[in-house]
């Protein structure tokens, strides 16, 4: 079965710095998505990158995908305290997605 791992598990940075999170998976995918979860809350869809895309931007978010290495990264530029949350990659096909283990990001004001 597909498994996803993210690193780092936790990341603490100062406001204004950039945050990079990585996701690895094991099988072929149609797309890879990134979600954000504030503590004890729901999952918010951030961005989706298709398997034939290599990079995608949305505001302060930049996602890359390397299907040959089966990995993706999420970069948050100029972080803000409000970016403090857990970030999950989710990958797979059209019937379901599998979530990674998540990165807990803390942005210190």
């Amino acid at each position: 079965s597909q498994q996803g791992e993210e690193d780092p598990q936790a990341l603490s940075i100062q406001e204004g710095e950039n945050a990079t999170m990585n996701c690895s998976y094991k099988t072929s995918i149609n797309n890879l998505q990134w979600y954000r979860q504030n503590s004890g809350r729901g999952l918010v869809h951030l961005i989706l990158i298709r398997s034939n895309e290599r990079e995608k931007h949305s505001g302060r978010l930049r996602v890359t995908l390397d299907t040959s290495k089966k990995s993706s990264s999420l970069l948050i530029t100029a972080s803000r305290a409000a970016d403090t949350a857990s970030y999950f990659c989710a990958f797979g096909g059209y019937q379901k997605v599998t979530f990674g283990t998540g990165t807990k990001l803390q942005v210190i004001p």
Binding site: Q33, L43, H45, L48, A90, K96, F99, G100
Partner: protein, 114 residues
């Protein structure tokens, strides 16, 4: 912006009781899902539902669980004879039929089995 609505936000139930978790997906979405997240752990897939039937389910989704779309707007997850280990956050999600669009998740129901 359209939302997926889940009720209740928190439910406490006695072990062995049945619970029904309710979801109202976005109206023009065609695919529906239940995921769960045990506290501090990964988000796990339970079941996907399309065209009024289950399209895929995980090994977690055994005979204890069932889903239904009774009236074209609600999407429910029933858990029979709840166990302590069913305590988790349960998320409903939906998506359009358009390929490569992300899921919209509800804010979840926290189920506590005591």
């Amino acid at each position: 912006e359209p939302e997926v609505t889940q009720t209740p936000s928190h439910q406490v139930t006695q072990m062995g009781q049945e619970v029904i978790l309710r979801c109202v997906p976005i109206s023009n979405h065609l695919y529906f899902y239940w995921y769960r997240q045990i506290l501090g752990q990964k988000v796990e897939f339970l079941v996907s539902f399309y065209n009024n039937e289950i399209s895929e389910k995980s090994e977690i989704f055994d005979d204890q669980f069932s889903v239904e779309r009774p009236d074209g707007s609600n999407f429910t997850l029933k858990i029979r004879s709840t166990k302590l280990e069913d305590s988790a956050m349960y998320f409903c999600a939906s998506r359009t039929g358009i390929l490569n669009y992300g899921y919209t998740f509800g804010s979840g129901t926290r189920l506590t089995v005591v």
